[in-house]
């Protein structure tokens, strides 16, 4: 059947005539003209006339729905003529529950207002973060002296996750980074005939900072993300609520074991990463520069200074705390749907990496001042 859709205005009355099949109607332009005509103040009455309406779908329903909204808003009379009963019922259904969404109003105000809102949010966020750090610190010390709800088994699971399960990836990446450092260094140093210094370059680079940073980034992506996802899912499943109402502090139960695990393992992983990086450098030394491995290794060991080594380990320790706090923070403050678990995970990783870089800067400046 031919589809027909047109309207005319006579006096105060707008009449819309519809006939034929009305499936997937998409003449936006005509619809917009209809709406603006209907909004006109001179029009006081809207009549929709169905003439042998065949099949119809929601594309027709939205037009009637919009028209009726316009009519209600501007107190015009609205009338449906010759429509099938089920269609009228559908439209009435759409208007039967007049419940506005009960969400707080999020309309944006002027520029100054937005700056104000943003500022208050920032202050609140800093406050929240600070409180979380304080609470996790408290819980950490309670756990250390054995006066918290932390279960040994949770700690051992967390430890397992950041030790041998993390070793392969940490080893691989660190080896590659050592190799890259050595390769880039070798190309440059060769021009001065100073390729023998590749060993010390790699060793100092890895022990002082690269070992810790690479381990930190891997662990942020691996462990920090999994902390946020696990705790976030527990939040969604009301498990965190269940803990609280059992009188168990989620800090003790969820955060402490994870934090302790990272504080113990990050320095160890950093050491391992240093070692693997030096091996990676050795690979380049032997294959590309023709230095015997024994010789290369001696040079490397000679280049280790206690200061650099300890600063590197200290970085690892700090990164461990940063990763644990970021992961757990975003997990605990995760919203209550699956979507928010995803965004919590992302935020945990990104913020962990940002804060690691910030901490590196701070530590570097402190070392400079202390002349280490």
């Amino acid at each position: 059947m031919r589809q027909d859709f047109d309207f005319n205005i006579s006096g105060k009355t707008l009449t819309l005539n519809i006939s034929g099949d009305f499936i997937s109607y998409d003449n936006e332009e005509l619809k917009l003209r209809l709406y603006s005509a209907a909004e006109d103040d001179k029009v006081r009455q809207l009549i929709v006339n169905a003439n042998q309406l065949g099949q119809w779908d929601s594309t027709l329903a939205i037009i009637i729905f919009e028209l009726k909204k316009i009519a209600l808003k501007n107190q015009k009379t609205f009338e449906l003529r010759n429509f099938p009963q089920n269609f009228e019922r559908l439209i009435n259904l759409a208007f039967s529950v007049d419940r506005k969404p009960v969400q707080p109003d999020t309309s944006s105000g002027g520029f100054l207002e937005n700056v104000g809102i943003w500022g208050t949010k920032l202050v609140a966020g800093v406050h929240k973060g600070f409180n979380f750090i304080k609470a996790s610190g408290n819980s950490f010390f309670r756990s250390i002296v054995g006066r918290s709800f932390m279960r040994g088994i949770d700690l051992s699971f967390a430890l397992e996750d950041c030790t041998y399960k993390a070793l392969p990836i940490v080893s691989l990446i660190s080896f590659m980074v050592g190799l890259i450092l050595a390769f880039v260094g070798a190309v440059q140093l060769k021009t001065f005939g100073a390729q023998i210094y590749v060993a010390s370059l790699v060793t100092i680079g890895m022990t002082r900072i690269m070992g810790a940073i690479m381990t930190g980034i891997i662990m942020a992506g691996r462990t920090g993300a999994s902390y946020a996802a696990t705790i976030g899912t527990m939040q969604v499943n009301e498990e965190v609520d269940a803990l609280k109402t059992m009188g168990v502090d989620p800090m003790d139960f969820l955060v402490s074991p994870r934090m302790i695990a990272l504080i113990i393992t990050m320095p160890l992983l950093t050491m391992w990463s240093d070692f693997m990086g030096m091996l990676g450098g050795g690979f380049v030394g032997v294959t590309m520069l023709g230095i015997p491995f024994q010789k290369y290794w001696e040079l490397s060991i000679d280049a280790i200074s206690l200061d650099n080594f300890l600063v590197g380990i200290f970085h690892g320790l700090v990164f461990g705390v940063v990763i644990a706090i970021c992961g757990c923070y975003y997990g605990i403050f995760c919203g209550r749907n699956a979507d928010s678990v995803g965004s919590a995970t992302t935020k945990a990783v990104v913020s962990a990496i940002v804060w690691m870089i910030v901490m590196t800067g701070i530590i570097t400046v402190c070392c400079e001042v202390l002349d280490i």
Partner: protein, 257 residues
């Protein structure tokens, strides 16, 4: 039945930030009651339950449990009161990293000094009570939604609580399981004298188990009616409640009469 008041809400205003859900609620729940909290979707029933169980602070007013102010209690006093509560969450809220047995043992390990063997016996008793005998070693991911709920109830009952809170116990259950859960609620209430607070929309449950109730109204942010649900049905104080309790069919039924 005794009429000793167990839970009392005084001028309770609940909401989030500037966003007020309910204003100045006053009601009391007697010991041994099965108390129903009903109301339209999104009006703040779950939020009220969170306030009653101490998860969220009210914006104003206080909750008294056995005469003690729960809202302004010190953390240790609060923990004491919380131990009187068993809560069944909508999803069961079992700890997914633990087996059912470990889940139910957890509150026992936390708050009792029972030897391990006794805890084990208690766990198998509680599981048997909810019809899950022998499921100790299953993980929550290995059982169905209805079973999770029952296991959650077993955990809620672990410490023989004085009050058990339920958030939509029958949501997502088939009619038979839902009926079984209702029977279980009645059994617990009769045999142990436990006070029971239920948030639910399920009309059959409301009439089957409830002996007192409040009806929350989102529009006026207040209690629209209170009392025994069966009395409310026969003597509805206003249309909204009548419609709710008759699934909106009441009006039509009257018209055709």
């Amino acid at each position: 039945m005794s009429t000793e008041v167990q839970i009392e809400a005084k001028n309770l205003t609940i909401g989030y930030g500037d966003y007020i859900l309910m204003k100045d609620l006053n009601f009391s729940i007697n010991k041994g009651d099965i108390f129903i909290i009903m109301g339209g979707s999104g009006c703040g029933k779950s939020s009220l339950l969170r306030v009653l169980t101490g998860l969220v602070q009210p914006l104003k007013g206080s909750v008294f449990v056995d005469g003690a102010n729960f809202t302004s209690a010190s953390p240790t006093a609060k923990d004491k009161i919380m131990q009187k509560n068993g809560i069944l969450y909508q999803s069961g809220a079992l700890f997914s990293s633990m087996t059912l047995g470990e889940n139910i043992a957890m509150p026992l390990q936390l708050y009792t000094k029972y030897p391990t063997s006794q805890i084990k016996e208690l766990v198998s008793l509680k599981l048997a009570l909810v019809g899950l005998a022998g499921f100790e070693d299953y993980y929550p991911s290995e059982i169905s939604g209805g079973m999770k709920k029952r296991a959650g109830l077993a955990r809620a009952l672990a410490l023989d609580p004085e009050i058990v809170y339920f958030d939509e116990p029958s949501a997502g259950l088939d009619p038979v399981s839902s009926k079984l859960l209702d029977d279980l609620i009645l059994d617990i209430n009769h045999s142990l004298g436990t006070t029971i607070v239920i948030v639910t929309h399920e009309l059959s449950s409301i009439f089957a188990v409830g002996n007192n109730s409040i009806f929350l109204d989102g529009a006026s942010k207040s209690i629209l009616a209170r009392g025994n649900p069966n009395d409310l049905l026969h003597n509805p104080p206003n249309d909204t409640i009548f419609e709710f309790l008759t699934r909106g069919e009441g009006k039509n039924a009257q018209k055709t009469e």
